[in-house]
Symmetry: C2
Subunit: 149 residues, 2 copies
DNA sequence: TTGTATTAGTTGCATAAACAACCGTATGAG
DNA sequence: CTCATACGGTTGTTTATGCAACTAATACAA
């Protein structure tokens, strides 16, 4: 069955995902330099709220590929830093809707500018075509692994 | 300078690296099912020791893209689980050389089998050519970000 | 209507990461 | 030789993840 033997080093690189670790580290550093007071993980939650405010924690789980405890605690920290606020859903009292505070909304422009700049640094010298191809491969990997749960 | 505007969702996917997170989660699950008693992070250290035993912690930092405290604590846990042993270097007393225990050595075959199988699951249906291309893109991303430190 | 299953969210515990500050050892210039 | 500097490793603190167990609220079937 192992018709797919990997060349030396390939296995390790794919599994450890050093490229995405490097991007996250750089984004964190760039946030700090730009005075954006949030972690990359917190940014990933804010990112989805900027697109559509007032999502439930469960929706944020699905959007960010995290489990429920992770989102609970990210929201805890975002709330502590006064960037979002939990509001109980009136129709279904199990649900927390997460809303941006004015400070949370204010952060969007600069944070997204830094995120785009960081991705430009990361992808410098890579053609559009190859970016698309890598994207397709990574999406396929993700789909392969999701499907088998 | 933002000649490289990203399509919707692309920025988020690249930065959060969901594919490599998914691979790591699957590998952890497969380890568990196969009775391999180690975390993916611990495996990443063992992987390099299986290739060459008796490396220093600093060498393991370089090999695994981790900082010194991270490796210190991974080695702490590996030592606690009796998979490796710290041995002081005789020539330079600052250095710890990390050696596999018999149990650590015994784990290699099964762990590498599971790792290869996991990568096969992840890359099912992706052509050799596209795997290579994705690899090149990810390496370029890594190099871009390393260079600018 | 009652009782069971499902859903949303939280808490506890172990592991890991980043960053800064620190200690002991080695090195090399003067 | 001595002292500043660099190097290898450890510790403390904060943040985040995964898993399992749990609570509260809802849905739904009998």
């Amino acid at each position: 069955m192992s018709n797919n033997q990997f060349r030396k080093g390939e296995l390790y690189s794919f599994i450890t995902g050093k490229a995405s670790v490097a991007i996250a580290r750089r984004l964190q550093k760039n946030f700090k330099e730009a005075g954006v007071e949030a972690t990359v993980e917190q940014w990933s939650i804010l990112y989805h709220l900027w697109k559509e405010d007032g999502r439930s924690q469960q929706q944020l789980c699905d959007a960010t590929f995290r489990d429920k405890p992770s989102v609970t605690r990210l929201v805890d920290n975002l709330e502590k830093n006064k960037l979002v606020k939990r509001v109980g859903d009136k129709k279904d009292r199990r649900i927390n809707l997460i809303y941006l505070t004015p400070e949370g909304r204010r952060m969007e422009e600069e944070a997204m500018r830094v995120a785009n700049q960081t991705l430009n640094e990361a992808l410098a010298g890579v053609s559009e075509k190859n970016i698309d191809l890598a994207k397709v491969v990574l999406q396929k990997v993700y789909d392969n692994l999701q499907g088998m749960l």
